[in-house]
Amino acid sequence: DAGITQSPRHKVTETGTPVTLRCHQTENHRYMYWYRQDPGHGLRLIHYSYGVKDTDKGEVSDGYSVSRSKTEDFLLTLESATSSQTSVYFCAISESEAGNTIYFGEGSWLTVV
C-alpha cells in the first residue's frame, strides 16, 4: 500500500489513557494525513502535515495532537482517550496537496473501553 506502515494495527485501551498511533512512509511524500473512519460519516480529516514540523488541523481535530519530526513519520496522539474516539484511523500520504492522488495505509483499529 504505497509504502505506508501504520502501528499498532489494533489496540484496546482504557478511557483516560494516552494513545499514540504511528505512521511511517517510505515514499518521501511531503504531505501526510490522519483520517478517522466511522459508520455514517465516511472518512474525516483529523490533522495533516505539509512538511517536517508543519502541521494543521482538519475538521475533527479536538482531542488529538500530531507531530512530525521526520519526513517519514507522522504521529497521532490522543492525550486522554474517550469512548467517542473508538474508530478506525487511516494515515494517508500525497506528493502534493489533497487535490491530487492520496494513498492510504491499511488502518489502525482503536477501541476505547
Partner: protein
Amino acid sequence: QQQVKQSPQSLIVQKGGISIINCAYENTAFDYFPWYQQFPGKGPALLIAIRPDVSEKKEGRFTISFNKSAKQFSLHIMDSQPGDSATYFCAAVKTGANNLFFGTGTRLTVIP
C-alpha cells in the same frame, strides 16, 4: 454538516448488471472529485477521478458522470463482477486545499 452526500447506503446487483452510486455537493469551489474503493480490512484506494471541465470520464468498466449545474456526480460500474463487491466513497476537494471531504460510503454487493 456533510459536505458530500452519497446514496444509496447499500446496493445489491446481479453479476453483469450496472451499479450506480450517486453523490451531491454544495460547495461550488470544489474542483476535484475522486472515487475510492475500499475492501474489508484495507485502506481506501483511488479508483477514478474527474475535474469539472468534463462531463464524463471512463476507465475500463468504471465511468464517472458529472453534472456541474446540478452539483451532482455519479459512479457507474458496467458489467459488475463479484470482485467489485466493496465499499465505495465519493469525495470532493478544492485544488490547493488539504481537506478531502468524503461521502458516507456505499456498500456494494455483486451476487454471482
